[in-house]
């Protein structure tokens, strides 16, 4: 395994874990969403590293040359995953706008307090 691949393998785990931690630990919904994005970015790095080959260049077929090239398939796959991640982020942010309109806050703990208070009111009524 080359130095590049080793470094990347460690880096993607670190990025993923930072993302996952942000996702769990932060109360702010936008920050949670950013954590999710970071988590998915870590996975992209994993896929990209999979395709890399030492000394490999872009996979362009040229007559007369027999160059080593990187595997393009994981890179193509991850293009799809990037689009998916982008759409997920867009849907999440759209939902957060809706939450802000209805609740007036984007802090998860404050939203939970509002929900509980309303459930109690509802119960007493």
């Amino acid at each position: 395994m080359s130095l590049f691949a080793t470094f990347n393998s460690i880096a993607f785990v670190v990025i993923m874990m930072i993302g996952l931690y942000t996702l769990i630990a932060r109360q702010n919904l936008v920050k949670k969403t950013l954590g999710l994005g970071l988590f998915q970015t870590g996975i992209f790095l994993m896929y990209i590293t999979l395709g890399v080959r030492d000394g490999g260049s872009a996979p362009i077929l040229q007559e007369g040359t027999d160059l080593a090239y990187s595997n393009p398939l994981p890179h193509v796959l991850i293009l799809t995953a990037i689009v998916v991640s982008l759409s997920t982020m867009a849907v999440a942010l759209a939902l957060i706008i809706g939450v802000r309109e209805e609740y007036g806050t984007i802090e998860a703990d404050e939203i939970a307090t509002i929900d509980r208070a309303e459930a109690k009111e509802d119960h007493e009524a």
Partner: protein
């Protein structure tokens, strides 16, 4: 030109996809509903024809499956659609439920979704069905991930459309989005690791290459990520926390579709990957430690799900927690790797979809007529809505598994398989679950029949087209409880095909 019968598999995803794209353009007024109805109807027809074809062929050559190379690129390099008996059975179920719920939801959608959003609702609706059906019929691992995200993203949107009724739909959708995306990302990691190991994405090809290579850390890590991701998607205890809020706040049609199909497709992914990709013949499907972990998750799901259902303030939440328990039954059957348990598991997927779909449709009728499903407001429902409350009781009896309902048949096979494979504790949990189910069903009976009628005003009458799907679904669950033969044979053949057992 005479239509080529071998083109049919691709229609299963193409029909709802085209419908979903057309819906925002053509779907104004009643046309969105009509479009969805026609599309899901045609898709059901295609799925059912595939099911009959595969069943007939399977009788001649066991293990038969239909394969369709997309774009003419042969597998393993191209993407392959691969339909075996289990895929066809579940695809028929998913599209059929889609049709029934669409039939149900014309006024419901008019009631719950503002008019300028309805065509987008139908678009998301059809795209969600596209994704779910696609997962069932694809033979390509990365395709599973993409289709999973198509169905998930549309479902988040559909749930959030419940904000007209309750603003909690937004937080429920966001919660589901975060957990669902983490689950899907885990599946993506698993697929990446499998690709790193085998250099291919076709599931059959991955399986063939894994058989040649020794099981190493890469494969085990992939399996762990996959099980965690699929567990989140199928809402297996303790990863179920997104589900009750999502089911109880989504528009009633969406709740019925999700409860009947979405978690089932999650379970299908688990089955497909465990048995068609990771399984090594002659070996235990899952090792003892795995059975212990997943089995205790299932036991806890049955216990806490049923107990939770008995404590909920509204019928929607009660049904959602009951689903948590039912997922436990289904997964426990596939875990122990016994043919009868697997048959029971597949049967329970079908029957639970019929019964829980019917029950959520009843909840939808309550929302349409009363505007609420809070149990307090349902007092005296037996006199105010005799038909609907009778239907809920029938569905509830199926949840308990009273003989004569479909729930009994599937639990019978589950118990038989669990006992024969030497898991008496899990069998005990299944029985205990039935007792606990009796408690939460009794709560409804007590409220509906033994309390004086509440004075919550009825807003609407009972439209026949709303009650017809309920009648068909719950009627089918009773009919299949009395005459289960056909479906049991199908489920047994599907289980044999999945587990690679020759009869």
């Amino acid at each position: 030109m005479k239509p080529d019968p071998s083109m049919l598999p691709v229609l299963i995803v193409l029909l709802p996809l085209v419908g979903g794209v057309l819906a925002p353009i053509l779907g104004r007024g009643i046309f969105g509903w009509l479009l969805a109805l026609i599309t899901t109807g045609l898709t059901t027809f295609v799925c059912a024809s595939q099911l009959l074809l595969i069943q007939a062929q399977n009788a001649l050559t066991p293990g038969f499956s239909v394969s369709y190379p997309l774009g003419g690129w042969p597998a393993p390099h191209g993407i392959e659609l691969k339909i075996d008996l289990l895929s066809a059975l579940l695809a028929t179920l998913v599209s059929g439920m889609g049709f029934m719920v669409t039939l149900f939801s014309r006024q419901g959608v008019d009631d719950e979704i503002p008019s300028d959003r309805r065509r987008f609702f139908w678009s998301l609706w059809l795209l969600a069905i596209t994704g779910l059906l696609g997962i069932l019929i694809t033979g390509d691992a990365f395709n599973v991930y993409v289709l999973l995200e198509i169905s998930s993203l549309t479902i988040y949107g559909l749930i959030a459309m419940g904000r007209q009724r309750t603003k909690q739909a937004l937080t429920a959708a966001l919660n589901y989005l975060v957990l669902g995306s983490v689950g899907a990302s885990f599946i993506l990691i698993a697929i990446g690791l499998l690709y790193a190991k085998t250099g291919t994405l076709n599931m059959a090809d991955i399986h063939a290459k894994l058989l040649l290579a020794p099981v190493d850390a890469t494969v085990l890590t992939a399996r762990a990520f996959l099980l965690a991701g699929v567990g989140l998607k199928m809402a297996l205890f303790p990863l179920h926390l997104w589900m009750p809020a999502a089911y109880s706040t989504a528009p009633s049609a969406v709740a019925a579709l999700l409860a009947a199909t979405a978690t089932k497709v999650g379970i299908y992914m688990g089955m497909r990957f465990i048995f068609s990709v990771f399984a090594v013949p002659g070996d235990e499907m899952l090792s003892g430690g795995n059975v212990l972990i997943i089995g205790s998750c299932c036991g806890a799901a049955i216990f806490f799900g049923s107990l939770g259902a008995a404590r909920q303030p509204s019928l929607s939440l009660l049904l959602a927690y009951s689903s948590v328990a039912q997922i436990g039954y289904i997964v426990v059957g596939m875990t122990v790797g016994h043919i009868d348990a697997m048959t029971g598991s597949i049967l329970h997927m079908v029957f639970h979809a019929l019964m829980k779909g019917g029950l959520f449709l009843c909840a939808g009728i309550l929302i349409y007529r009363l505007g609420t499903t809070r149990l307090e407001d349902l007092a005296g429902l037996g006199q105010r809505m005799p038909w609907v409350s009778a239907a809920i009781v029938v569905g509830g009896l199926g949840m308990i598994g009273i003989p004569g309902t479909a729930g009994f048949v599937s639990k019978f096979y589950l118990l038989k398989g669990l006992i024969l494979s030497g898991h008496p504790v899990l069998a005990g949990m299944v029985l205990l679950g039935s007792v606990l189910a009796a408690i939460y069903v009794w709560r409804f009976v007590e409220v509906a029949y033994l309390r004086p009628a509440s004075d919550t005003p009825l807003r609407n009458g009972l439209p026949f087209e709303k009650f017809l799907p309920v009648l068909i679904l719950l009627g089918a669950s009773i009919l299949l409880g009395i005459q289960p033969g056909v479906v049991v044979d199908l489920a047994r053949d599907a289980a044999q095909q999945l587990m690679g057992v020759t009869p």
